[in-house]
């Protein structure tokens, strides 16, 4: 074709080539490398050589980007709610119902900045609440921890901190056994692919579906590794209430415990190992502490309940003989435990028993010699050979904000990138901040107490620190500057989020968003942002480094791409940087925000020069080619994660922590008080030894919303699990006219032309309710009602239902916040309750519901 330009960009699901013709994007593809790109690594193992294909893989939602760029739901003009008058009646309780009218950028920014100035004058900057959505776009300059933070830090605001979502149990529970606060409770994964290919005999995927969740940002880079392991005869066991997509591709055996009871199954495995003497006693003796207490509990000496497989069968429904067979095989083979989709994570940790499950995963691994050859916690998604010496920052390393308090900028990058980094004295442990999970309570109730600020990874003890809103001497929230519109689909018990908008207690709401969906329609002023295909940026494949240090070991080749401005922003939409520049001009700090007038391309160039790229490629050549494949070092010594620990040596991996102050001898031992893996956690003993919800040793604790909560269970007898979705990245890729909607495993198109969200229900449960396949059903509990299409399946056992979270759209058929949602926000139903009173993480997989045939009158 004529006049076609082949440009480069990046997405949350892989770097891409973007073909542009006559100002229009016509094609988006994964990258194929050429002969000039760096060579691929090779691993020799068990007489075979393994090397990845010379291309990048791509996630489904990234292939659907063109349908989202040219979406019918794109916001193309600034909008004002028709019945909102900043100088008269605001009609706040009408949010979500009223229509919008187009206004000019000048009007929109006037209203917004006049309100900001008014609120700052009357209440102070902390009366402005703001938070962005996660994972919305890709690019180190435009990312929320970069451009957004830079603006907000200069304007002043109360930040709604993102929680440790997706790995809650590892953070609030697991961390106390092995430290790793610098990784938020998750362990390092270096070189574990080579270790597994050489030594591992079995893999246990427990609440782990890497084909669906792609590590994080890693597309299908790890799929080939699982094929390699299969080729070597490595057996693959899956434990998940849902016969997940990775199981569908490679499983040898599937166990589906009742949701929220995996900890019972884990204890019975430990019981079998202890009573049959098939655990690593030397390791327990030299590398761990507190095992005797744990052993006594498992054997029933503490509570007169031996945690036998028969005992566990009653809780988790897996036959006792199967649990024993699994324990025996695990105890006799070098086993990698893939607990969750990374070196941790997993739906099982996002539940009332999530802490205890994650804690037991660590304890089970320790009992088998965690860190010895072929034995680790590793889910195949990280730990590919990589050049970790080459500096290119992840998106959490602060970008153009350089915020050392609220990003990982302080680790190294801020010193290379900045003369004038920004920070916020309000968004600090000494100022005012609130948890994202409690935005509604803070707005509606005006007060709240919790533990841990945001990711709280500075130390193990940081999560114990108590905070309150309003912070001492700080004002209540008067304005909400929301960036994105996903929370009704992604948080818990989300009618709360709807109702938090529909109140006079919140006088002003701005939403800066790309699409008119979800929460966006609850704002007074909507500022239309463009996608990263419509502005300049720079990024690396799957590199979010910071808390997931060296996260690019997920991918088979480190690929850094220049994200070229492929097209002009659609309509009147603008890049986030442009929008913030306009606002900062009216607020008087444009010079500071833009550092004297820098464009986005200027920042991209500055970031390029702060990395190791210029040592290998000139700016001009990088612009010309558009991407760079980081070469492997000539000699690379393999340093498998935790091998040093198992062998009681000084840490030899490139891990970025823990901080020297937390260790008796730097580099030796873990971050726990003893420096060893602690079965009985000294940090919990010190904090609250009597906390029955999070005891010093991991225990079987009944779920606060499960089969033991009898009254509720009688009323709502189906246990709902709602993992992260397979085809969309949270809300990105879903609804908004995206092609993803047409995937029959994502949504189901009904005769009325609407794509309905799917709930998966076992044949027996469907029969009992008289439901037919693909029929519309009402899924409900006391928290709300959601309209879904039923998918009748044998991939979940009777009593369990499965529906992904993260509908991008919210479509109430009556009054917002009270009526049934047609779009499929399954999180209207999930609990807002924290895992435990002191573990302020969400527990969406502890959720009881009932399902019935939908009749129109039900609205």
């Amino acid at each position: 074709m004529s006049n076609v330009q082949k440009l480069t960009s990046g997405t949350t699901g892989g770097p891409v080539f973007v073909y542009v013709q006559d100002g229009r994007i016509i094609r988006i593809t994964p990258m194929e490398f050429d002969e000039n790109d760096a060579a691929s690594w090779k691993i020799e193992a068990r007489g075979k050589t393994f090397s990845p294909p010379r291309k990048t893989t791509i996630a489904p939602y990234s292939l659907a980007w063109r349908s989202m760029i040219y979406s019918p739901k794109r916001l193309l003009h600034p909008l004002k709610r028709v019945d909102f008058d900043p100088n008269g009646k605001r009609n706040c309780t009408k949010r979500g119902e009223s229509g919008y009218e187009k206004i000019s950028w000048d009007e929109a920014t006037d209203i917004a900045t006049n309100e900001i100035k008014r609120i700052k004058t009357e209440y102070g900057p902390a009366a402005i609440l703001s938070t962005p959505s996660s994972h919305h776009l890709w690019g180190n300059v435009g990312y929320r921890l970069s451009t957004y933070l830079r603006f907000m830090n200069l304007m002043g605001y109360t930040y709604a901190d993102h929680n440790t979502d997706s790995w809650e149990g590892w953070f609030w529970g697991g961390m106390h056994h092995w430290g790793n606060s610098h990784r938020l409770g998750i362990t390092e994964q270096y070189d574990l692919l080579e270790d597994a290919l050489k030594h591992t005999e079995m893999m246990v995927f427990w609440s782990s579906d890497p084909e669906a969740t792609n590590g994080v940002y890693g597309a299908f880079e790890s799929t080939i590794r699982r094929f390699w392991l299969k080729e070597l005869g490595v057996k693959m066991i899956f434990i998940d209430p849902f016969y997940n997509h990775t199981a569908g591709l490679v499983s040898d055996k599937w166990f589906a415990p009742r949701p929220d009871t995996g900890n019972a199954m884990a204890l019975a495995i430990a019981y079998t190992w202890i009573t049959e003497d098939t655990y690593d006693k030397e390791y327990i003796k030299t590398r761990t502490t507190g095992f005797e207490k744990f052993k006594d509990y498992v054997l029933g000496k503490e509570d007169n309940i031996p945690k036998t497989s028969e005992w566990a069968e009653k809780e988790c429904t897996i036959p006792a003989r199967d649990i024993r067979a699994l324990a025996r095989e695990w105890g006799s083979k070098k086993t990698m435990l893939a607990a969750g989709g990374m070196g941790g994570m997993g739906s099982a940790c996002r539940a009332a028993t999530g802490n205890e499950w994650a804690r037991l995963m660590i304890c089970l691994s320790a009992m088998q010699g965690f860190g010895k050859p072929g034995i680790n916690i590793w889910s195949t998604t990280q730990g590919a050979p990589s050049n970790t010496d080459f500096l290119f920052p992840g998106y959490t390393e602060g970008g153009i904000a350089g915020d050392v308090d609220n990003s990982a900028a302080g680790y190294r990058f801020v010193y290379k990138m900045h003369d004038f980094p920004t920070r916020s004295w309000i968004n600090s442990p000494m100022g005012q901040h609130i948890p994202r999970l409690r935005i509604p309570e803070c707005i509606l109730d005006g007060e709240y107490k919790w533990r841990g600020k945001g990711f709280a990874g500075s130390s193990v003890e940081a999560q114990f620190h108590e905070y309150k809103y309003p912070a001492e001497g700080y004002p209540e929230i008067q304005m909400y500057y929301r960036y994105g519109g996903s929370f009704i689909g992604t948080m818990g018990e989300t009618n709360r989020y709807v109702n938090a908008y529909r109140t006079d207690r919140l006088p002003f709401v701005v939403n800066q968003a790309i699409w008119n969906e979800g929460e966006t329609r609850f704002a007074d002023i909507i500022l239309p942002a463009c996608t990263n295909f419509e502005r300049w940026d720079i990024s690396e494949f799957a590199n979010c480094s910071g808390y997931i240090a060296d996260s690019y070991t997920q991918v088979n080749h480190r690929v850094i791409s220049l994200q070229k401005k492929c097209i002009e922003p659609l309509g009147e939409s603008k890049s986030d940087y442009e929008i913030f520049s306009m606002l900062s001009e009216k607020l008087g700090f444009k010079q500071a925000f833009t550092e004297g007038g820098k464009t986005e391309l200027d920042w991209v160039k500055q970031l390029f020069h702060a990395t190791d790229l210029p040592k290998h490629i000139s700016w001009e050549d990088f612009c010309e080619k558009g991407y760079y494949v980081v070469p492997m070092p000539e000699e690379k010594k393999s340093t498998p994660g935790m091998r040093w620990f198992a062998e009681d040596k000084i840490r030899d991996t490139p891990d970025w922590g823990p901080h020297p102050e937390t260790q008796a001898e730097f580099g030796k031992g873990l971050q726990t008080i003893s420096g060893k893996i602690e079965f009985e956690c000294s940090s919990l003993l010190r904090f609250d030894p009597d906390d029955e919800e999070r005891p010093p040793i991991p225990k079987y604790i009944h779920s606060w919303e499960g089969h033991h909560t009898k009254e509720l269970y009688d009323k709502f007898p189906l246990q709902l699990i709602s993992p992260h979705p397979r085809f969309s990245f949270h809300t990105v890729g879903d609804a908004k006219g995206s092609w993803i909607n047409e995937i029959e495993d994502h949504r189901i198109l009904k005769d009325d032309g609407y794509y309905y969200w799917i709930i998966r229900i076992n044949t027996k449960d469907a029969d009992r309710r008289g439901l037919k396949d693909e029929e519309l059903v009402e899924v409900f509990n006391d928290r709300g009602r959601v309209l879904c299409a039923a998918k009748i399946t044998e991939r979940v056992p009777p009593g369990t239902v499965h529906s992904y979270e993260s509908s991008a759209e919210y479509d109430p058929l009556g009054k917002p916040g009270e009526s049934i949602d047609r779009a499929g926000c399954i999180n209207l139903l999930t609990p807002s309750r924290y895992i435990t009173k002191n573990s302020c993480g969400s527990a969406p997989n502890s959720c009881l519901v009932e399902i019935k045939k939908y009749t129109d009158g039900g609205a």
Binding site: I58, P60, S67, I224, D322, G737, E742, R795
Partner: protein
């Protein structure tokens, strides 16, 4: 003359739908004359992924069948379209977007339902094998490029060489009874088209999984079709059984335990559950 063929390994397909999405990305709002008019935003799956679950909890599996235009050698769409559809020398079947204009009937000629009607441009449409890209030097169509597992491939071979590959790789056509001679071949097609009988064996006296039990599968005449041993979970599975193929008998033998026989009528996949052996 070398000709193009699709090959899908059903065992390697995980239903990620990247093939469908890449196809839509290539053709949405993009005309490629003289081969194709643009696809609409929604509704047309020139390459389509069907999911099939087999078995009953907890003995289940899942398989996906990806279908597109089969680029048949005896294509009914060609014979029934008065020259609006033609076969190229490289095996690719193309619907001429000019000559086919207004001819909605062509949609119904395809035994594989691979042709769609474009209401806006009034043309029947289907997979073009991305011929416009192959002509620019691409080595494969978009769907193949986006496949993360190499489940979907294309090969350009002389018919004789393809026939040899079909034989050596055990490739099959899907629904060969259509007689249209598709150029789309499948490996491990049994995963989608046939069924299995699976179950578990345990010892009554110890309530342990019965590892190493010998299981014979016999047909109605008593002929032994296959023999397997149970694994450490007591599990066994016989796959590749034709649907609706009648009565089967399963003999379960284990030293020191009484022999047990189970008879099953096979219409669809069957998980017979756990069978308990009694000590002799």
């Amino acid at each position: 003359m070398q000709k193009w063929n699709f090959i899908l390994d059903v065992k390697l397909c995980q239903g990620c739908n990247n093939c469908f999405l890449a196809c839509r990305d290539e053709f949405y709002k993009n005309d490629f004359p003289p081969y194709s008019r643009a696809q609409p935003r929604h509704g047309q799956k020139w390459i389509s992924v069907k999911q099939q679950e087999r078995g009953q909890y907890p003995r289940v599996d899942v398989a996906y069948l990806t279908t597109a235009c089969m680029h048949c050698d005896d294509a009914p769409c060609i014979t029934k379209s008065d020259g609006a559809v033609y076969k190229r020398e490289d095996g690719i079947v193309i619907i001429d977007p000019e000559k086919s204009k207004g001819k909605k009937d062509i949609v119904n000629t395809c035994p594989y339902n691979a042709i769609f009607w474009n209401e806006e441009s009034q043309v029947p449409q289907k997979c073009t094998f991305c011929i416009h890209l192959l002509e620019e030097g691409w080595k494969m169509p978009r769907c193949v490029q986006a496949c993360p597992t190499d489940a979907l491939k294309v090969v350009k071979l002389k018919d004789d060489d393809m026939a040899a590959l079909v034989k050596s790789e055990n490739l099959e056509r899907y629904r060969p009874e259509t007689g249209s001679k598709p150029r789309f071949y499948y490996k491990n097609l049994y995963r989608f088209t046939t069924c299995f009988i699976a179950g578990g064996v345990a010892f009554q006296d110890t309530d342990e999984c019965a590892e190493g039990a010998i299981i014979n599968l016999k047909d109605a005449s008593g002929k032994v079709l296959d023999t397997v041993k149970t694994n450490n979970y007591g599990d066994f599975k016989f796959d590749g059984i034709e649907k609706n193929s009648g009565l089967y008998t399963i003999d379960i033998e284990c030293p020191e335990y009484s022999k047990l026989t189970v008879t099953e009528e096979v219409s669809e996949c069957r998980n017979i559950g756990v069978v308990f052996l009694e000590r002799r």
